[in-house]
């Protein structure tokens, strides 16, 4: 990297971390919302019966 490795590689490493965090947090957010929706529907079904 012509003497710039100490600047170039951390940029790409941080980009990987940011992209991975985005993917992980979006999946976790969706999964948590599914669990909450499931609980809300179960409670509503329990209240009806």
């Amino acid at each position: 990297m012509g003497g710039y490795a100490g600047y170039v590689w951390p940029c790409f490493a941080f980009a990987c971390v940011v992209l991975a965090w985005n993917l992980w947090s979006a999946r976790r957010f969706h999964a948590a919302a599914r669990v909450r929706a499931g609980r809300a529907l179960a409670m509503a079904a329990g209240a009806e019966s």
């Binding site: 940029c11 985005n22 957010f29 909450r36």
Partner: protein
């Protein structure tokens, strides 16, 4: 056209469309980012002035572009929600904010690491850098404002308003290098006439930009699904949706 537009007001339609699009966006993002990384890091020649340090452009420029694109999308979604009272607009705006904030942070950090060898400093209160930092604060403000209200509908409206008002910062960031004296270099690709880069450097950059946009689309779809479920958890259609 209006039929399609009004379909966006339907939570089951938005949820289904987001679920169908996310894997396609993600698959295409992996391909384009993969090509951009290999071509940018291995095959692109070093810059005649900046040497190999210029390769930081392959993550810095796409993340900076995406920070503006994401904010503009958030502001437009907020405006649609306020003007046409389409609640899904608030869901898209809420989903867009954390993604945009992360791209803004990435642009600031990579810009700082690029600035050290080129300008001799990690940070300067330069118009482009300062306005990009303000963009990060606006994202944080929008994300903090929404849950600050007990009534979620009021939180949505307040966040949408802040998003729309803050959109004035987007053209300031874009044109800051033309309007004021700036350490930051001028436009390389998005300018009238020919881009000031040879094809061997430009193609990986465009590939990374397309890849980042597709990645944004994929993550936005996943987050929108979560937002829709959080807002519609009492609806009957949700039962079928979470079974699949």
């Amino acid at each position: 056209m209006w039929t399609w537009f009004y379909k966006l007001a339907s939570p089951p339609y938005v949820y289904g469309a987001a679920a169908a699009l996310a894997p396609w966006f993600l698959g295409l993002a992996v391909l384009t980012i993969g090509y951009g990384l290999v071509a940018g890091l291995v095959f692109a020649p070093p810059d005649y002035q900046q040497g190999d340090a210029f390769r930081i452009i392959y993550v810095h420029a796409p993340s900076a572009w995406m920070s503006l694109f994401s904010y503009t999308s958030m502001a437009i979604a907020g405006a649609i929600a306020l003007i046409w009272r389409i609640k899904m607009g608030h869901a898209v705006a809420a989903a867009s904010a954390p993604i945009g904030a992360s791209f803004t942070l990435l642009a600031l950090v990579t810009g700082s690491l690029w600035g050290r060898p080129m300008w001799g400093t990690y940070w300067a209160w330069d118009p482009r850098l300062t306005s990009e930092l303000i963009l990060l604060f606006l994202y944080v403000g929008v994300m903090s404002l929404r849950p600050a209200f007990e009534d979620p509908a009021r939180g949505d409206r307040a966040a949408a308003l802040l998003g729309i008002v803050g959109a004035v910062n987007v053209p300031i960031i874009h044109y800051s290098v033309q309007w004021w004296n700036s350490l930051h270099q001028g436009a390389t690709v998005a300018k009238l006439g020919k881009p000031s880069m040879p094809g061997s450097m430009l193609l990986p950059l465009l590939s990374m930009l397309v890849g980042f946009m597709l990645f944004y689309g994929a993550v936005l779809c996943m987050r929108v699904q979560g937002e829709v479920l959080n807002r519609e958890r009492q609806a009957k259609w949700v039962r079928e949706a979470i079974k699949s």
